[in-house]
């Protein structure tokens, strides 16, 4: 058994990155994720790594672009307004196929919004906040233990597919402490990087990292290649958790912190005689459509619960595709869904179908 530590979510992300062999970090301060930068600033110099506080979010993501281009494992982290600033860079990373891990500890918007937890960046992360037809893998941990495990996994996925992987948390996950049990050795998978710019040393052809192709036919083909890669990821890397869905009448669809709240509602609902399950997407992109196919014949209705006005809701509706009713409960602005409100919605739905 590995080392057990009581840790903040943000610190667990940073520790996981270092354990995954990421010793280059570039970032800009923003609440509620600054503990990641603090941890990196303290630890990286001790392992011959580089922590650099950039002059802006824009510069930080471009430093990531540079370091990632050399085949180096690299990470940046920010929160919603900062992630908005990084969108230009994320589009370039996607276009040039540079692997990197980007953490978004989501806070409420729009604009400067607030610093309290939110899930209102789902569209931005999953549907493409920057320009162009691109995707990035979006992982949604729901505990500090999972923040650690999925951060390690994020680096493997990024390297495997030459893609950006987003760790999408929220202020609660970043700030809270839970016990993390660390593995003695991490399952690191690092493919060769013959594409990286490292200086050709007169031994190989020139390597170029670029996203510009002014010939439309060439650019279309480039896009086709990207889409092929995205389809492969959809096929191979979709992740989700099903909890108590074997014979439940209603299934709550929720991710991250909200999935934790939903799980505790399931216990309370049981006490009232309601049989409720949970479908928890772990990859927000690719969205776990297949999970719906597994449960749809056995359930009567879905409830999507989010800390947003209903963003994932659209993907849930696409997956259910009219076959079952889809209800929604959302809170915004940094407010967190309350157990009693979800329970009330469950009672209402049972009342309707009774």
């Amino acid at each position: 058994m590995g080392q057990r530590m009581l840790m903040k979510g943000n610190e667990a992300i940073a520790e996981a990155a270092i354990r995954a062999g990421c010793i280059h970090y570039f970032g800009y301060p923003i609440t509620p994720q600054t503990e990641i930068a603090h941890y990196m600033a303290k630890k990286l110099p001790k392992v011959n790594g580089v922590f650099l506080q950039a002059e802006s979010e824009v510069a930080a993501i471009n430093m990531v672009y540079g370091a990632g281009s050399t085949g180096t494992r690299v990470m940046t982290s920010s929160s919603s307004p900062g992630i908005s600033l990084k969108q230009e860079g994320l589009s370039y990373l996607a276009g040039a196929q540079v692997p990197a891990v980007v953490v978004n500890i989501v806070r409420a918007g729009p604009g400067l919004g607030g610093i309290q937890p939110s899930q209102s960046d789902y569209f931005q992360s999953c549907k493409g906040g920057g320009h162009g037809d691109y995707r990035q893998i979006v992982l949604a941990p729901s505990s500090v233990q999972e923040l650690y495990e999925l951060t390690v996994e994020a680096f493997n996925l990024s390297d495997k597919y030459r893609i950006v992987t987003i760790i999408q948390g929220d202020g609660i996950l970043g700030q809270m402490m839970e016990v993390v049990e660390f593995r003695d050795t991490e399952p690191i998978e690092r493919p060769e990087t013959p594409w990286a710019v490292t200086g050709h040393e007169n031994k190989r052809a020139q390597n170029v990292i670029t996203s510009i192709h002014l010939n439309p036919a060439v650019l279309e083909q480039w896009n086709r290649n990207l889409q092929e890669k995205y389809n492969l990821i959809k096929e191979k890397e979709t992740r989700y958790e099903l909890y108590n869905t074997d014979d439940s009448d209603i299934i709550i669809v929720a991710y991250g912190t909200v999935a934790r709240i939903a799980k505790s509602v399931i216990e309370k609902a049981k006490e009232e005689g309601f049989n409720v399950g949970l479908l928890r997407p772990i990859t927000l992109w690719p969205f776990p459509q297949e999970a719906f196919e597994k449960v749809i014949d056995r359930t009567k209705a879905f409830i999507t619960v989010e800390m947003s006005a209903g963003q994932m809701l659209e993907d849930v509706k696409l997956s259910v595709n009219g076959r079952r009713p889809v209800y929604f409960h959302g809170r915004m602005g940094g407010m967190v869904p309350e157990r009693d409100d979800i329970l009330k919605l469950i009672r209402d739905i049972y009342g309707k179908s009774a």
Partner: protein, 244 residues
């Protein structure tokens, strides 16, 4: 028969797409000659920017990255910090470096980032067809200053070398010109010196090159070269602004 003149090894055998009379080709050649003479092409990583030289990786033979508009110094920082033994340079125009990329260049310079910046100052946005740049001279006509650059409305030109030279970070900053052979030779020495500073790990180095844009200036190549001498140098004096 002895070969007395040939393409530098660090330039690929590709014809430039630059307009007739544009000095980008000369600037490319000077950089490539420096890489050859210092024998560093094999470990050099260049950062192309956004502007007419967006595809300079088609010309330079070393490994290259194409950077977002203005961000080349940040990209170069990421490269250098992860590969400190490589030689890293950016090649940026005035719109890229002194407008949209002002924050990136100032902070790379202030950090003393051990990279070399080749800064092409031709007082105009070339690729997007001749708009006002931060370096556009007062009274200069561009497509977005059709009545001339007027200080009251557009503000004043930015003298980038002088601005960066007040920082403690830079190790070497020189402004050179490409308007005649004598000055081109001097520019070559400046570029070589800048790379040498990087090799010696002295920190940030930049060479600003006064360059032409005959197409967007509406001048023929000879008139364009004369304009550097007669109009640009009075605003942008040549010389070394920082050396340590």
């Amino acid at each position: 028969m002895a070969i007395v003149f040939q393409k530098p090894k660090a330039l690929k055998d590709t014809a430039f797409h630059y307009c007739p009379g544009c000095t980008h080709g000369i600037a490319h050649r000077l950089v490539a000659e420096a890489l050859d003479e210092l024998d560093i092409e094999g470990k050099t990583i260049g950062i192309a920017s956004v502007g007419c030289s967006y595809n300079s990786y088609d010309y330079f033979a070393c490994d290259m990255i194409q950077a977002p508009h203005g961000r080349a110094p940040a990209v170069a920082t990421g490269v250098k910090r992860s590969k400190p033994d490589n030689i890293v340079f950016t090649y940026q125009g005035d719109g890229d470096l002194a407008a949209i990329g002002t924050a990136e260049i100032i902070h790379a310079a202030a950090r003393g980032e051990n990279i070399t910046v080749i800064f092409i100052n031709n007082t105009i946005y070339g690729m997007t067809s001749g708009q006002m740049a931060p370096t556009t001279l007062l009274n200069q006509y561009t497509t977005t200053t059709p009545y001339g650059r007027i200080a009251d409305h557009h503000g004043f030109p930015i003298n980038v070398s002088e601005v960066l030279a007040v920082l403690d970070g830079p190790a070497y900053i020189e402004r050179a010109s490409l308007h005649d052979v004598k000055h081109i030779k001097k520019a070559k020495e400046a570029i070589k010196k800048a790379f040498t500073m990087q090799i010696m790990k002295k920190g940030f180095s930049m060479v600003e090159l006064l360059s032409t844009c005959p197409t967007n200036w509406g001048l023929n190549p000879v008139e364009a070269l004369n304009r550097i001498k007669n109009e640009m140098i009075p605003q942008y004096p040549l010389g070394v602004f920082k050396e340590r």
